[in-house]
């Protein structure tokens, strides 16, 4: 069902898709038959929502729980540290320190 699309479904139970080539903002995507426009650039191997995800809902990848949504995530949106968290230990990033550095 992801044929020709720049993402991969790793397990039928997953509610996220994995980006297999860079996606540009504005690119038209077909997610399980639903037409979605990419809201931003997606780097390789980042995740996008396969369906709308509610706050508190478990994020499932590889058919296994990988964390919990901290906000409402629409279908096709970027799923990452800004809208999900670990059920174990918090994730450490340098995002706030980076400024314009890549």
């Amino acid at each position: 069902m992801t044929d020709g699309m720049p993402f991969l479904l790793l397990d039928a139970r997953d509610n996220v898709l994995v980006v297999t080539r860079r996606i540009k903002a504005g690119e038209r995507l077909n997610i399980d038959g639903e037409a979605v426009v990419a809201e931003q650039d997606f780097p390789l191997a980042h995740k996008l929502a396969r369906k709308p995800i509610a706050p508190g809902e478990t994020i499932v990848k590889y058919g296994a729980p990988i964390g919990v949504a901290t906000a409402a995530i629409p279908c096709g949106a970027h799923v990452h540290v800004h809208n999900m968290k670990s059920a174990y230990t918090p994730t450490y990033t340098l995002d706030a320190e980076k400024g314009d550095a890549a």
Binding site: V18, K47, K85
Partner: protein, 396 residues
């Protein structure tokens, strides 16, 4: 067929390294200078920087100095440190290897110690260079795996491809070791169900619970900022990707650093110290894990990277498997295997798994890895403490 160097304990090495081991940081410079002119001739520096004694470090050094890839050992002591150099020298001598302890304070300082050390190493390097080899079977191999600089591609390409190579090795009778229980948090139940008996499954679950407790106390998971840049959002997500390195074989046992697998099969290496949190982070970087895998007898280590690591190791070759096709195009010179092809539809998991397996055999036929050719010989050893293995860890 591979060719190996036969040691007195029956194990065989795929390398014939002269190890120069410093026994406190104060002896590190002298050790490094001794090895420097011969660093391209399999003379590797290992050592322990601490001045306080530590049973774990003592055992690690003993296991590394009597590793099948090591043919001779020069120990470099300052003279006043607490490391038990006598016990280490005895253990190496008992293994049949040439060994000498050079004590800088007795030898007369830096210059005299470097001169004497170089002469000893050169003599034994020449002797090892004419040592005959014997045929070596795949079933005699011990292979470890680690991942570092992981990103969202690691768990889709490189790690499962390494897992396929593990499955092939284990089917041929080899012993394979995966590790870093702190990066298996979230996988404990799936992993326990692969144990060869329920008691081992409980031990595996307990080891991951210990890791989760340890990291919670320290306030950080085994998760670096670059992991998030690469699309990984949580430790559980990183864990699921890392777990794929273990392949699909049953888990035969749980071991701790320095324990050599008793027979072929798949083993989980528990790297998180036992007891109260005492000496800081379990493994302060990837090379700390690689050193522990080698201390368990690993002839070679698979290192899967997405962001792009460049490291190798002292003692055993490191095969670098690049999971991310963009990283591979930037850093191909550092990589042995281009697993990112899987993501772009240019190869299958089975093909890359086979390539990793073939390269492993090649290492026993004279092939060298990229990191060996580039002179990488990283090594680090820090303080830890472990209790001995319980009876459920290695079912018969």
């Amino acid at each position: 067929m591979m060719q190996g160097f036969l040691r007195s304990d029956g194990r065989k090495g795929i390398r014939n390294v002269v190890a120069v081991g410093y026994l406190v940081e104060c002896a590190h410079h002298v050790a490094r200078e001794i090895a420097l002119p011969m660093r391209d001739d399999d003379v590797h520096v290992i050592g322990f920087p601490g001045c306080y004694p530590n049973e774990y470090a003592q055992r690690m050094m003993e296991q590394l100095c009597t590793h099948p890839n090591v043919g001779a050992v020069l120990l470099v002591s300052l003279g006043c440190e607490s490391f038990n150099k006598y016990g280490l020298e005895r253990a190496v001598r008992a293994s049949g290897r040439p060994v000498k302890t050079l004590t800088i304070q007795a030898t007369g300082g830096t210059r005299a110690s470097i001169a004497e050390g170089r002469a000893w190493v050169a003599e034994h390097r020449a002797a090892l260079d004419v040592m005959p080899t014997v045929p070596m079977d795949v079933s005699e191999l011990v292979i470890g795996t680690v991942c570092g600089g992981s990103d969202g591609t690691s768990g889709i390409t490189g790690n499962p491809a390494a897992g396929r190579a593990f499955d092939r090795l284990i089917a041929a009778g080899a012993a394979c070791i995966f590790e870093e229980t702190g990066e298996l948090i979230g996988c404990e139940h799936i992993m326990a169900s692969r144990a060869i008996n329920p008691a081992l499954g409980e031990v595996i679950e307990a080891s991951v619970a210990k890791a989760a407790r340890y990291y919670a106390t320290l306030g950080y998971g085994s998760f670096a900022a670059g992991n998030a840049d690469g699309g990984l959002s949580t430790i559980e997500e990183k864990s699921m990707g890392a777990y794929a390195k273990s392949g699909s074989s049953p888990i035969s046992g749980l071991i701790k650093p320095g324990d050599v697998p008793p027979k072929g099969g798949l083993y989980l290496l528990d790297v998180v110290p036992d007891g109260d949190v005492r000496f800081g982070f379990p493994n302060i970087n990837d090379n700390a894990e690689i050193a522990e895998l080698i201390a368990c007898g690993a002839h070679a280590v698979y290192f899967v990277t997405g962001r792009g690591s460049v490291v190798g190791s002292a003692i055993s070759p490191v095969i670098k498997i690049c999971a991310n096709p963009e990283t591979y195009r930037r850093m191909a010179d550092d990589m042995d295997v281009d697993a990112g092809r899987i993501l772009e539809g240019r190869a299958t998991l089975d093909q890359v798994g086979q390539e990793i397996f073939d390269l492993t055999i090649g290492l026993g036929q004279g092939q060298r890895t990229r990191s060996e050719d580039l002179g990488h010989q990283e090594f680090i050893l820090t303080y830890k403490s472990f209790e001995p293995l319980g009876p459920a860890c290695l079912p018969r």
